[in-house]
């Protein structure tokens, strides 16, 4: 990986093109969100989707533990949140609620997709990456990619459980699945195009 970075950094064409892209990104996200680090549209989209997933997971977890909290959802026919959230498949190994697992997943995903985490990977134009932060960046990229792949795998199992085993669809769960899929797609595209690319080290 280090060799690839070094060899790529010697190529002036792509690097200068990328630097201009990253220099343009802050302008797109700074307006209206001055308190957030400027990271670009894709990272911001992953974070917003992660925040939605976290909110829905909190709601599902509360509804799991508090029987007085009813999910705003149809309870007739195929769309039936109660049937899904009270099914045997709503517990992993019979002890760990899927809702809690989803909540834990999204707490992690929100953190790792936050603009501050992305900023470590994409410093603003003129920023520099030390060797230490370069290693951290690689770790974050790996953690982000592995977590969304694992999350997407679990979502596929949950879709199988809903469609095949339970025969009912929980809209709230499905909205979290869609968010997870979108985050997965964005991270895969980002990793595919930006993996191993050197970060901007020059000024301006």
């Amino acid at each position: 990986m280090a060799d690839r970075k070094a060899s790529t950094s010697r190529r002036s064409g792509p690097q200068s093109a990328r630097s201009s892209q990253q220099a343009a990104a802050p302008a797109a996200t700074k307006s209206g969100f001055g308190f957030l680090p400027s990271v670009g549209i894709l990272p911001l989209a992953t974070w917003l989707l992660s925040l939605y997933g976290l909110g829905a997971s909190i709601y599902l977890t509360i509804a799991h533990y508090d029987t007085h909290v009813l999910l705003v959802c149809s309870d007739k026919g195929v769309i039936n949140c109660a049937e899904v959230t009270t099914s045997s498949q709503s517990m992993v190994f019979g002890v760990l609620p899927v809702a809690v697992l989803g909540l834990a997943f999204y707490v992690f995903i929100v953190a790792i997709n936050s603009p501050w985490a992305w900023r470590l990977q994409r410093p603003a134009a003129g920023g520099q990456l030390s060797a230490w932060s370069g290693n951290l960046t690689t770790s974050i990229m790996w953690a982000r990619l592995i977590s969304v792949v694992v999350g997407m795998g679990f979502v596929l199992y949950l879709i199988y459980a809903e469609v095949i085993q339970i025969g009912a669809i929980c809209l709230w769960c499905t909205s979290v699945h869609v968010a997870t899929f979108l985050i997965f797609a964005l991270i895969v595209f980002d990793s595919s195009f930006n993996w191993g690319k050197p970060q901007p080290t020059g000024r301006g």
Binding site: G77, V78, S88, G167, S192
Partner: protein, 289 residues
């Protein structure tokens, strides 16, 4: 350097630049293919799941089984076994304050509402059968499983059962059957129709979930006393036998829950019958009521 040499160098540079640009475009295409292919593969898996479901034949429900030996075992658990188990692992009864007592036929009523498809009901029925059998005679039990798509938990059904007691009325309502029916609230066919009063109690206390147990409107169990996964992989015979063994996990779950339910029933029967309500198992469970 001559003009011809300069031209040749310029052409060479342009050719190299064109080759680099082509390589760059090919690399971009390859990356796009990898990323797009990965995302499309995930979507394809989802579509496969939906197609499999669409072409799947509905799960068949096994016919109910009658077995006098197992029925005898679960309705005549020895008092010594109940006493040794005590509260066991049971949890969940809630007391109700300020509600009019639920009675029928001049006796306090124990109302159960559930469904044959439901795995939680499947677990709870064993304890209910054991508990109410201490106050009267429960017969006509059939052995079934919860829906194959919902745990396939071995259980009994109160559908077509009968109960006689001089202390209380036991009114079981197996609201839903096992066959799927997307037009009903719980997605399964109606088996027995509850009365308006029963539906009102369900709406008031059950949190829109089954099973629901109302003990004389003084205590309710909106949920379950133990995990159905504890008995999910056992047979009817193993569960019935396990209820006789106070050291077993089955007895701690089922007999423990039966003691708690019995303690609540004793409250509405005013301590009758004495041999049940003053037994060590029921007395130990009183603290949980």
């Amino acid at each position: 350097m001559g003009k011809a040499e300069r031209n040749r160098r310029t052409i060479t540079r342009e050719r190299i630049a064109a080759q680099q640009a082509a390589a760059q475009r090919a690399e971009q295409r390859r990356k796009a293919l990898v990323a797009g292919g990965t995302v499309l593969a995930v979507l394809a898996l989802v579509i496969v799941i939906i197609v499999v479901k669409a072409t799947q034949a509905p799960a068949k429900t096994a016919a109910p089984v009658q077995n006098a030996t197992w029925a005898q075992e679960i309705t005549t658990v020895p008092a010594a076994t109940f006493n040794q188990v005590g509260v066991g692992a049971s949890a969940g009864l809630k007391s109700v304050t300020g509600a009019a007592p639920l009675t029928s036929g001049g006796k306090p009523e124990v109302l159960y509402m559930g469904g044959e498809y439901c795995p939680y009901c499947a677990a709870e029925r064993w304890a209910m059968a054991a508990a109410v059998s201490r106050f009267g005679s429960l017969s006509g039990l059939h052995f079934i499983h919860s829906s194959p798509a919902d745990g396939n938990v071995p259980t009994i059904t109160f559908y077509k059962s009968s109960y006689t007691s001089k202390y209380l009325s036991f009114v079981p309502v197996e609201w839903y059957g096992e066959t799927e029916d997307s037009s009903t609230p719980f997605g399964h066919v109606y088996l027995q129709h509850p009365s308006t009063q029963q539906v009102a109690l369900f709406n008031k206390y059950a949190g829109r979930a089954i099973p629901f147990l109302d003990i004389g409107n003084q205590y309710v169990l909106p949920g379950v006393s133990y995990l159905f996964t504890d008995i999910q992989n056992l047979t009817w015979s193993q569960i019935a036998a396990g209820m006789q063994d106070p050291s077993s996990k089955v007895a701690k779950d089922i007999d423990g829950a039966a003691n708690v339910i019995s303690a609540a029933i004793c409250k509405i029967t005013h301590g009758q019958p004495g041999n049940v309500c003053t037994s060590a198992g029921v007395t130990a469970a009183e603290g949980s009521v």
